[in-house]
């Protein structure tokens, strides 16, 4: 037990060191594409881990988290579009291409959206909550499809990634390191969050809302706060993704994206700190391997997902642990 407690941070540090060295390793191995694949893993890892706050810790099955992911992306895209054209948004908000402004803005706006959607959706629970979050995400999807000024159906091209002072963001490696830095900060914050009193309350709410209410805790407010935090994390990931792809489109809000995020969480293990990151890695690796074999890669993903849900309890991490446990 004490070894595993010591081992966890060591493994995390080792993975971090590997991630820092990755661009050099990838060059040396002649696989430069690996770096951008890992960047996508990191970004989806943030989004999935954010979803895990409500899904794993809070037990609220949100099927609409792609909405916040997409909003984060569109904040970057729309601010860039106004920066490029020069006319302010709504007549008074100037556009910008500074990541240090767009990233907090994306987090803020997606947090506000999560506040509104969460306040309405959390009036229900269980299966209605699933349907409602899905429906609201779909509503925002249609909103962005109809915004012809920002590309509508085709999406919004961001000609250049946002700038950061003293960094050359035209270099893909620099973008990778920015993503890595944000991911590191995010997971440190998440680690603090998971060990906080707030997360304990959330855990308690998942197990028994009545009991927590009997203790005197306002369940609704705690759940709403968790939902907002979770939405902000997903928005942060969306902003990074828009910078990474230099593109924001309604696809980011599509309901299948919400499904993918959930799949990542369950692949990695629900309610674990690094599980969603591992799940994102597994999902994206799986996607690129299957896609190189066949254009019908989703068939494989579907079958694997079905297997994981029906026969493994706790995703890849638990499966690996069980296999390791069986060997020793």
């Amino acid at each position: 037990m004490s070894i595993s407690k010591l081992g966890r941070p060591l493994i995390a540090l080792a993975v971090l060191a590997l991630l820092i060295a990755l661009p050099l390793l990838a060059e040396a191995m002649g696989q430069p594409a690996l770096t951008s694949m890992v960047a996508r893993i990191l970004i989806y890892g943030i989004a999935a881990a954010s979803l895990n706050i409500v899904l794993g810790y809070g037990g609220m099955v949100s099927f609409g988290h792609a909405a916040f992911f997409g909003i984060g992306g569109y904040v970057v895209g729309i601010l860039y579009a106004h920066h490029a054209s020069g006319d302010p948004l709504l007549g008074f908000i100037p556009g910008t291409n500074q990541l240090l402004i767009t990233l907090p803005a994306a987090i803020l706006v997606s947090g506000l959206a999560a506040l509104v959607i969460g306040a309405l959706s959390l009036r229900t629970s269980g299966v209605q909550f699933i349907m409602i979050t899905l429906a609201f995400a779909q509503m925002l999807f249609f909103l962005f499809v109809s915004l012809k000024a920002y590309g509508g159906d085709d999406g919004l091209i961001i000609r250049r990634a946002n700038e950061v002072p003293w960094l050359n963001m035209r270099d893909k490696q620099t973008v990778y390191y920015v993503c890595l830095a944000v991911t590191t900060v995010f997971f440190i914050l998440l680690w603090r969050f998971v060990n906080s009193r707030f997360a304990n309350v959330l855990n308690g709410l998942r197990q028994s809302e009545k009991r927590m209410a009997a203790i005197g805790l306002p369940a609704y407010r705690y759940k709403l706060a968790a939902f907002v935090i979770s939405g902000m994390g997903a928005g942060c990931a969306g902003a990074l993704m828009a910078n990474f792809l230099r593109f924001a489109s309604p696809d980011m809000l599509h309901w299948t994206k919400s499904g993918e995020l959930m799949v990542m969480v369950i692949l990695g293990g629900v309610g674990t700190l690094f599980g969603p990151l591992a799940g994102a890695a597994v999902y994206i690796a799986l996607e690129s391997i299957l896609a190189s074999w066949t254009e019908y890669w989703q068939l494989g993903v579907g079958m694997i997902l079905l297997f994981v849900v029906l026969y493994t309890h706790g995703g890849v991490q638990a499966l690996a642990q069980r296999l390791v446990g069986r060997q020793t």
Partner: protein, 304 residues
């Protein structure tokens, strides 16, 4: 005025289709406690099966049993192979497993039929239009859809409230364990209910064939709207699903028909069209938000 009447009928036709979907979904949830995302996939399978048989044989009459049988069999296979293992799991596992089924069925259909949408021919007997009011010609086929939907609603009402199976269904949704203790084969009942839901979804898919394009993804499109219906009507309530379907169908159709025109009074034509289309797509979700504010459990909560 004739335009308004025509659009209202279109809305009713859409609402009736939604009801066929929502009735199955809400029944399955109310009795088995399962959230079935793959309900839309059964609709798609029904549409493909019906369209295939109709185009191959040229007979709509053969297409009807084919679509219904294929949909019901798909439902039974799904229930026995997957859904049955999910009854005791939480909603998250149910969502993910049925999401996996969507991916699998969508890809399977793509492999067999390709990505091009299919178009089912209109049955000859229903291909004309009738003059309902002076100056208002309405396609017979759409009227048939409305009538079939209403007949199914009446049939369901009788089935649930007047028959032995309906009694078991009502009992099962109130207290599962008690029904089992009384010696009812609850697994059989679940399979029957699931097959019934699949049958209705297949019927909706079949009827949608000649009106809409039959393509991969059609199931999810109607599924999400069906969710809105189920939430507004109250999860588990067939009566609620019926009224909510008609409300959503009419509201959605009328918004799409009139909103761009209204907006055009204030703004440029193309922009008004785009914004109008966007807002009218959002309309039903806003309606759902309003209903939730007033009645979080939906308009017609199942009596349990």
């Amino acid at each position: 005025m004739t335009l308004f009447f025509e659009q209202t009928l279109n809305g009713l036709q859409f609402g009736v289709m939604l009801f066929l979907m929502a009735a199955g979904l809400t029944l399955i949830f109310g009795i088995m406690g399962i959230i079935n995302l793959a309900h839309g996939s059964i609709y798609m399978v029904g549409a493909y099966a019906g369209t295939l048989v109709i185009t191959e044989t040229g007979s709509f009459l053969l297409g009807v049993p084919a679509a219904l049988a294929v949909a019901a069999i798909t439902g039974i296979v799904m229930e026995v192979a997957v859904i049955r293992r999910l009854y005791r799991r939480d909603h998250l596992d149910q969502v993910l497993a049925t999401f996996a089924i969507i991916l699998i069925l969508n890809q399977a259909i793509t492999i067999f039929f390709g990505r091009q949408p299919l178009f089912a021919p209109m049955p000859d007997a229903f291909s004309g239009s009738v003059e309902l009011l002076p100056g208002l010609f309405y396609p017979v086929y759409r009227l048939v859809i409305i009538l079939v939907g209403l007949a199914v609603a009446a049939g369901l009402y009788i089935l649930i409230n007047r028959t032995r199976i309906g009694m078991l269904v009502r009992a099962g949704s109130t207290n599962r364990d008690m029904v089992r203790a009384l010696g009812v084969d609850i697994r059989m009942l679940y399979t029957v209910v699931f097959a019934l839901g699949a049958l209705l979804a297949g019927l909706a898919g079949l009827m949608a064939g000649p009106v809409l394009a039959v393509q991969v993804g059609m199931g999810e499109q109607i599924l999400i709207t069906t969710f809105v219906v189920v939430v507004i009507g109250g999860v588990g309530s067939i009566k609620g699903a019926f009224y909510a379907s008609l409300i959503i169908g009419v509201v959605d159709t009328l918004l799409r028909a009139y909103l761009p025109g209204l907006l055009r009074q204030f703004m440029v034509g193309s922009e008004a069209d785009a914004l109008g289309a966007g807002i009218s797509s959002m309309g039903i979700y806003l309606l759902m938000a309003l209903v939730l504010l007033a009645r979080p459990k939906g308009l017609f909560v199942a009596d349990s």
